[in-house]
């Protein structure tokens, strides 16, 4: 196809007043020999239509618009026949720099050069091959409230569902409950769980195939083509997976001082629930009705972690069970002693109403001991709101127990597998010591696998500290670190039945989104709709395994030699593999190491004597780049010597770019990514963390070049940091001024 480059310079939004548009046009026409160079009054409505018209009539194949930020435009604004980039001379030049200044003009021209360079390096994006052949069935693992709801939601939307339940019958924990906390206004009365009706609906839905007593032997493949084999030998293909494996009660062994396993009339809240369900709240010791019951919701043990899994659900459950006592016996007395009582949201109304019951007695306090005394249980409670330490005589004591997610930590299981492999090889040395140490530390994860995924990074979802599947639970609930696998219900977080149902609906939508979007060859999340995908020039691969190790999403499997085996449907298009690859063999059609390196080189770096330093700012396009745009919107100015390039994720930054910039004569480099660590903000979970890990290589490079450490700075930026970002830039400029210009200028 004939290459035809068109460049449009927008003069609206104050751009025309701030910069010399004629000079900009000259850059396009003389430096880059653009075929069409035009001014436009704005980038919307008729002006935008005019560009569309030109594309059609002139046969434009490459298009650059210098004007607003790329975030201003709709995705796929222009037809696929045109390769487009946008030079951001509005937010990041005209709106944040003084009008008519030489430095402002240089900045605008550099952005135009970078955009034209980029668009010249781009290639047409095609969706990955065979995307139209993917399977759209959905597998749900777990037949409790969340799993049943998810299965039914998918089925009534028209998807074929495989529902797996490890027990002999459906219902899960919900089927063991007597009643549920209120979920309907006025949020006062206990409700039926509704689980029976749900089981019926699922059992009678012809779109749903139920496997009870089911254990997963292996899941091969990727979203759109999960190849599932059960231990029973059954086999099917699913497009997406919903993991609703639920929870188990935490084992309250540490509560032996409260009589657990010592006194028969001291039971767990789960046991008490079963008693209520059976219709008889009686003392296990003698079968006599329990007229007074103490519900313990507190710590009171030296073990600090014992209530790690405590939650608002425990509090509300104690309230609910206190009402059971009152329901069965009008003279019943229910004591609730808590350390923290949590009744969030409309549950406050339930709390208020339960509190009204004259036979429910609540206090903050610390139950320090429970012992048998004269046919009753004597509980000693310290630090109460009554201002005194209490002695309460009751028929029964119920211990609130935490909810532990039924999840396996895939990464830990993999460490065990690897360690065993190393030990099996029998080679002594540091690796062997490490393997033995790892095996010792993570042995308890062995054999815990649930999904049994055939993923290089491990057979289950990676987990957070407390065993919950890793996801950004505020921004991206239901997401996990494995595309196409969506945890919901109590495996994701403690929640009540309604919470589990809502969660299941969310996860069902995610699963449906996954199969639908994948079938169009697009990324699911967070770059939904992106058809680009990483391609590997494997002839030059050295099997260093950095890509397979560093991918936050376990996309890549390996062959025996260690060559990566791509799985585009697992991919989120963050480019972390591209940033990791020392051979630079991983590229997207519209985002590559070479492209960005050329953009860096397209900037005109003035020589030392001009006293105009240049600083490269690689900004994550999820938070840092929008923050820079917002600084412009607010008219907050910063040094005109900075040149910003948006990156998909800081993890996609290849060290080569830093080397290129330093060799080209840039005086410094600022890297802006998201917060990392346990409370990470990174859209790609590990991206910014990867950059931190790689920065030791950067430091090495700086040393080699005899450059100061301060020339490369890394910052964690949130989208709301629009006031901080200009400060960081200006302070960096001061640092550069102190340490002086890059001696490699002009070389």
């Amino acid at each position: 196809m004939e290459n035809k480059l068109a460049v449009y310079i927008c003069t609206g939004y104050g751009i025309g007043e701030a910069i010399d548009v004629e000079a900009m046009k000259k850059v396009a026409s003389s430096e880059f020999k653009a075929d069409i160079v035009k001014e436009i009054g704005s980038c919307e409505d008729d002006d935008l239509k005019a560009i569309h018209k030109d594309i059609e009539s002139e046969g434009i194949t490459r298009l650059v618009i210098a004007g607003p930020t790329f975030r201003f435009y709709k995705r796929n604004e222009f037809p696929k026949t045109v390769l487009v980039d946008y030079a951001n001379i509005r937010e990041q030049v005209a709106w944040c720099q003084p009008a008519g200044e030489e430095d402002t003009q240089m900045m605008a021209e550099d952005y135009l050069r970078m955009a034209i360079t980029k668009v010249k390096k781009m290639d047409y994006v095609e969706p990955f091959p065979d995307h139209d052949k993917i399977n759209k069935d959905i597998m749900v693992v777990g037949g409790g409230m969340a799993g049943l709801t998810a299965a039914l939601e998918c089925a009534v939307t028209g998807y074929k569902v495989y529902l797996l339940e490890k027990e002999g019958q459906l219902g899960g924990m919900a089927a063991r409950l007597y009643k549920s906390i209120p979920h309907e206004a006025p949020y006062q009365d206990l409700e039926d769980t509704g689980i029976e009706a749900l089981i019926d609906a699922v059992s009678n839905n012809e779109n749903i195939t139920v496997y009870t007593g089911a254990v997963i032997k292996k899941i091969k493949g990727a979203p759109g083509m999960f190849d599932v084999t059960l231990e029973s030998g059954e086999n099917f293909i699913a497009g997406a997976i919903i993991q609703a494996t639920g929870w188990v009660p935490a084992d309250p062994d540490h509560l032996s001082h409260l009589g657990f396993k010592q006194i028969p009339d001291v039971v767990t809240s789960v046991k008490f629930e079963e008693m209520a369900k059976s219709g008889k709240i009686v003392r296990p010791s003698d079968g006599q009705p329990a007229a007074s019951v103490l519900f313990v919701q507190n710590e009171g043990s030296p073990e600090p972690d014992q209530f790690s899994y405590s939650s608002s659900i425990n509090s509300l459950n104690a309230l609910k069970q206190a009402l059971y006592v009152r329901e069965k016996n009008p003279n019943g007395k229910a004591y609730v002693v808590y350390d923290h009582f949590k009744a969030p949201g409309h549950n406050e109304l339930f709390y208020k109403s339960a509190q009204q019951d004259p036979g429910v007695f609540m206090t903050k306090g610390n139950v320090v001991s429970v012992e048998e005394s004269g046919g009753k249980l004597k509980a000693l409670v310290d630090d109460t709101l009554l201002g005194e330490d209490l002695e309460i005589s009751v028929d029964m004591v119920v211990l609130g127990v935490g909810m532990v997610p039924i999840a396996a930590d895939g990464e830990k299981i993999r460490i065990v597998i690897d360690a065993k492999a190393t030990i099996a090889k029998g080679e002594e040395g540091a690796q062997m010591d490490m393997a033995k140490k790892n095996l010792e530390e993570y042995k308890k994860h062995e054999g815990t696998a649930i999904l049994n995924l055939d993923y290089r990074q491990g057979p289950d979802l990676p987990s957070l500290t407390w065993g919950y599947p890793d996801s950004h639970f505020i921004c991206f609930p239901y997401e996990s670190r494995r595309t196409g696998i969506y945890p919901c219900g109590c495996v994701r977080s403690p929640m009540d039945l309604q919470g589990a149902q809502e969660d299941a609906m969310g996860a069902a939508l995610k699963a449906i989104q996954c199969v639908e979007v994948t079938s169009r060859g697009e990324a699911v999340h967070p770059r939904a709709g992106d058809q680009s995908y990483p391609e590997f020039f494997l002839q030059r691969c050295t099997q260093c395994k950095r890509c397979t190790e560093e991918c936050p999403f376990g996309v890549l499997n390996e062959d025996v030699k260690g060559t990566p085996l791509p799985n585009p449907t697992r991919c989120r298009r963050c480019g972390v593999c591209m940033g990791a690859c020392p051979e630079r063999i991983i590229s997207f059609k519209d985002y590559s190491v070479d492209m960005v390196a050329n953009m860096i080189k397209a900037v005109e770096v003035p020589d030392e004597y001009d006293e105009k330093p240049r600083v490269l700012l690689l900004a994550c396009e999820n938070d840092a780049y929008p923050a820079l745009d917002q600084a412009g919107v607010l008219g907050i100015s910063y040094s005109p010597f900075v040149r910003v390039i948006p990156v998909r994720c800081l993890g996609s930054v290849n060290i080569v770019w830093i080397n290129e910039a330093l060799s080209k004569g840039y005086d410094g480099i600022i890297l802006m990514g998201c917060k990392h660590g346990d409370d990470y903000q990174c859209h790609f979970v590990k991206g910014s963390e990867m950059m931190v890990a790689r920065s030791s290589n950067v430091r090495e490079k700086l040393q080699q070049m005899a450059l100061e450490d301060e020339r490369v700075a890394l910052h964690e930026i949130e989208i709301t940091d629009y006031e901080r970002v200009p400060q960081i830039i200006n302070e960096f400029m001061e640092t550069i001024e102190e340490i002086g210009m890059n001696p490699f200028k002009g070389m």
């Binding site: 007695f361 009554l386 005589s393």
Partner: protein, 401 residues
Amino acid sequence: MATENRLKVEPDLDFIQDVLENGGESLKKCFQCGTCSVVCNLAPENSPFPRKEMIWAQWGLADKLTTDPNVWTCFQCGDCSAYCPRGANPGDVLGAIRKKVIEGLAWPSFMGKAVADPQYLPFLLGFPALLILFLLLVTGQWDTPDGPVVFGHMISHIQMNVIFPTFSGLAALAFLIGIDRLWKGASGMSLLEFVPKMDRMRMYEAGKQTITDILAHRDFEKCEANNWRRTAHLLVLWGFLGLLLTTALAIVVLVAHEYAHIDAFGVYPLNWYHPVKLLGIVSGAALVGGSWIMIQNRKEGEVSGDLKSSYFDNLFLYVIFGVGITGLLSWILRLTGWGVLAYPTYFVHLVLVFTLLIYSPYSKFAHFVYRTVALIHKRYEELGAEAAEAGEEAEAEAQAA
């Protein structure tokens, strides 16, 4: 961990139910934030209330509350209720608790229950009515005599003044037993144990300070939300005390005239400008005015929710008002000479006076006594603590020297 100093909890569900039904319906709404104790201008620093009283009541700890002097420090001024974030109205709840406490201190205890329960109201009013009818029958004049209205003709003042002290004595005995129970709960000692051991100067000081405070309503001054109650309550208190004095003086005048034949103090019926009569008129007007304001404001308080009133509150208030208004009316009607109206009115007046008197240890009237005693106890303890502190300081100084 020690078991010995622990509060053994045994919630009294009936107690809770009673508090809920007698103006404390908001009791269980309390979630123990403690705002009430912070805003209360009367809460002592070392033992703030009413937060802890609220949870004691929620847990049905009747014994703790019956002997808690702080219950009596509260004037139900409503500051706490105004600031309560949960609408738990601690002021009203404490009012209901006081009612239960009066019932708990009652001797004989069935009287406490009878006065507290509206279904016994006909019997309560019937008893004094029958008593006076009986007196009329045996000593008085049954029909309304012609001529100038002279109440002494209907029923002899002297006889009245024999019956009156009898019932006063019974009431005083009941009060004494109640005070003893209250004292024992607050200090751990019955009066018999306490009185020989007490520091008499300190008790005198405590009594003097408490009573002058009560007469001036100094604590009431600190209330903000229902400040109107101070004036009305002050009128009722002074009116009541004035009428007590009037009655005592009237007895002196009567006895002097009838038995000592001394007419220098005046002759029955007294003229309106007679000092004793004047005192009676002014006091009666204060009582009627004060109680009328209280009735009106309690009605408004009920509508606005600022002040809850129970049967227990209203019974007392209406009887007080009734005593005052029938007393004044009797006087006016006597002057008009309309015996047909004057004598029945006087009859009603007598019934109400007896109602007030006989049931005083069991009705809200008892707060007059128990509050005074509780406050004296509190002040006595405070003075003791101050003295001990001063002693310690002096000792420390002496040691330092």
